[in-house]
Amino acid sequence: MIRNYLTIATRNLYRFKLYSFINIFGLAIGIAFFTLLLLLIRHELSYDVHHDNAEKIFRITKFVERNSVVEKTASVPFPFGPSAEKFFPEYVKSTVRIFNFQVPSHAISRDTLRFNEPGFYFADESFFEVFDYPLAIGDTALALNKPNFVILSHKAAIKYFGEENPIGKKIIYEDRYPLTVTGVFAEKDYASHFDFDFIASFSTLNNMELDTETLVNNWKWDPCWTYVLLKQGKSPEDLEFLLNKLANKNSPDSYGENVNIFLQPITEIHLYSDLDFELSANSDVKYVYIFAVIAILILVVATINFTNLSSAKSSYRAREVGIRKAIGADKYDLVKQFLVEFLFISLLAIILAFILVELLLPTISDIAGSELGFNKLDTQILFYSVVISGLVIGTLASLYPAYYLSRYQPSEVLGGSIMLGLKSKRFRGILVIVQFTITIFLLITTYVTGGQFSYFKNANLGFSHKNVIMLSVSNSQARFSYDSIKNELEKLPNVMKVTGVEEIPGIGYRIHDYLPSIAFTGDRKNWVFVPSIMVRPDFIETFDVKVVAGRDFDRTENDEYKGVIVNEKMVEFLGYDHPEMALGKQLRSRGGDEKIIGVVNNFNFESLHHEIKPFVLDMPSRKFQAFFTKYIAVKVHPEHRYEALGDLKTVWSQFMPNRNFEYFFLSDKLQKMYFKERKLVRVSVYFSFVSILLACLGLFGLSSFIVDMRKKEIAIRKAIGTTNWSVVWLLLREFLLLVGLAVLIAWPLSYFVMENWLRSFPYRMQMDFKVYVNTAVIVFLVTVITVSYHTLKAAFKEPTEALQA
């Protein structure tokens, strides 16, 4: 019997070629894109689950809160890990510290090869006790057990050694320290929040001329990403409590009691962590939910297509149903027959979906910014997802038409007393409305996310970042020659201004504590935490920050010791009514008694995800100038950016002959902060296009059936004198009405969802009514274009043929 079902299914597919194409292709697109989103979601959820002890590994993070300013760091002081291990052996099985001097890159060389490597880290010998990053070559027990040992990633091994076996060979760290390669990591087939190319033994630091004693005992600086491996059956909350006590006791008195320690499960870092000094930019679980919703919506749109077309087409099968019933088939036989038939179509769609997934995987990986489908697990997921979603859509979409078809009464369909296909008209109408509501919703989402992203890109940050080139000097000797470099740079024709900064303006800042004069009682508790950056002279001019009161830093005024500049928010925070009043007021820092010498406008010193807070610009004392000069910011002539770049490189080589030129344009870096929004925009553009495509395919097929069903009516109307265009309008009206209803449903829905999304940003685009009007116009136009082919054909056809039928 199954063979009979398949025979008739195949012959029907051949007979209704357009329908078959639309149905199979539409379903395949639905399955393929659903699968791609599923891969994307799975990828996001798979971070760090590859460690054998994933559930027992926690990162120690530190929150320090005062006057509602919270410093949240992903890293903790040097002694934290070893102390945890030493004092709480009943809880802690092992700890590992990851350290990179908190600099953006390290100079690595081998013979003539020389690169600035951002992925260089030092790690404790216990690295492999805690983590499972598999080695391709080398012994995990020996690879980090001595100073000056280093393990390379697969990528780095190829980069420095090509096909050679690198084991036992040397690379040079920062031109001074030879490191012996003791292992090579296996090619990456996992996802992790920690992306590295070099892991050097922690003991190497002992061989460097560092003040190791100060580092070992320093509870103030937080440079180590520290992970603990809990003992079996021990609760992280208990350890957290103990670690809090440890931190409170050891942190400097000024804020010891404000410190809170949190243990972060390693598997949650990628989706839930957004702290300062993250090892890499993390994602957000919110986007996983959004992708899941889009995946479901795409599936719904594809399912509706299938259901709608199949039920419309079912009228062509009514007579067959009647015949089969007359010769003794019961309802179940028929449901079985149509389910088999629809599943057969699903199977064809599944095959096509595999091809589509293969073709689209690189594009989606690129859009998502993640390498998808690279390992065995992903291949398995891909396979099951395509097959299962295909079968699920196939079954779901078939239920209604199968049920609907099997209900035909033979006495009605064989006697010709039934208006074929019109029975399910209302149901199909509802489905079209649902489908278009989703499509319009996705379109509005695309518009709004795109709008917000471009708002971020183009927003006025209150300072000028265009044409500012940042040179990274944090880990080089250059910062000790800052003044000479600045002099040389300022001589260049295309250089307009030069300054030095501790953090990248618009992206990062540090939290320093200050004691305002009005609260000055000598009691340390009145110190406040304020976001700030240490800057060198000419900061204000380089970044065109507006001075609203007072003056800029002045070298001749000893401002390194005596002067700070604050923003308007800080003036408010300190309780002054206007900027002038704050001038000359004391703001004691750790460096000594300082006074407010200037007030600047409220510029966005961090990403637009955050509201502007009180802020201080401070100059480091001469002793610490080099330490606080991590970047040299150079404002160049807008029309000669690239000539200027060449000149900067020449000066760089003059001062740092052994270090590769390392620079970035500030504007580019600022835009990268919005990578999550960018990802969302790209995904929604893609998927709203898919949704429109699916909805149009469905509408195109449906219009062909509806026109066919009404051909007699059209012929009669024409015979009695209706014009062709009235017929076109008659047919078009029906579809436009459905789409119009969808617009009316989608508008408030989208407004509600998008307004909520926008509200999560302190700085956001204005929702414009035009967005809604534009989407509606697009959808109406697309509808008219889609259905006009069949309606025009029907309207301009001579009526005789249909009247005779």
């Binding site: 009979n4 008739i8 089969r324 088939a329 019961d330 309802k331 006495s411």
Partner: protein, 229 residues
Amino acid sequence: MLLQLINVEKTYSNFGIETVALNDINLSVNQGEFVSIMGPSGCGKSSLLNIMGLLDKPTKGEVIFLGDKVSQSNSSKRAFLRRNHIGFVFQSFNLIEELTIYENIELPLMYLKVSASERKKRVGELMERLHIAHKSNYFPQQISGGQQQRAAVARALISKPNLILADEPTGNLDSARGQEVMEMLVELNEEGTSVVMVTHSSTAAEYSQRIIHLFDGQLVTENLKRVTN
């Protein structure tokens, strides 16, 4: 008695308007009988045939088929009886266009779960007998009306039913092909199959043993025509 209708009534309701299609019909068909039902268009012939063929339920009254009361049986029970005991022949042949002639004839046996080899044997024999074996792999639209009707008769016969219900079997055929089909029905009838035929054609009705006249849903006369052997 093969089939008996007792006080059968059929009304259709459309937008609140009730139309009486059959009114107080009492009728019986014996095993081996050939009955024609005649009457003008809209007199209820097709409704009567649908009820006799268990394709439709009467609004009132009782239908007794092979001794069982079936007028209110569920669809599965009625499908079972149709499958095993009733064959249909329609004016427009009603062959499934996507199936070949062979596959159309074979279909009832598939619902009866007859084995493939048995099906092949029975369909082959029947097609030979009805002279359509050479059209086995053709699709309905590729053969003549007469051949299509013969295929439809073959499909009705393949399950060896007790009753064949024919709805205007010659309506779409020329007189020669019509005569062929009628002779075929008579032959079957003579082999013991009961035939109930709805027709407009008095020529076709002449082949039956009994003619029932229907007018406005009511049975008006019954004429005895031919005597069985």
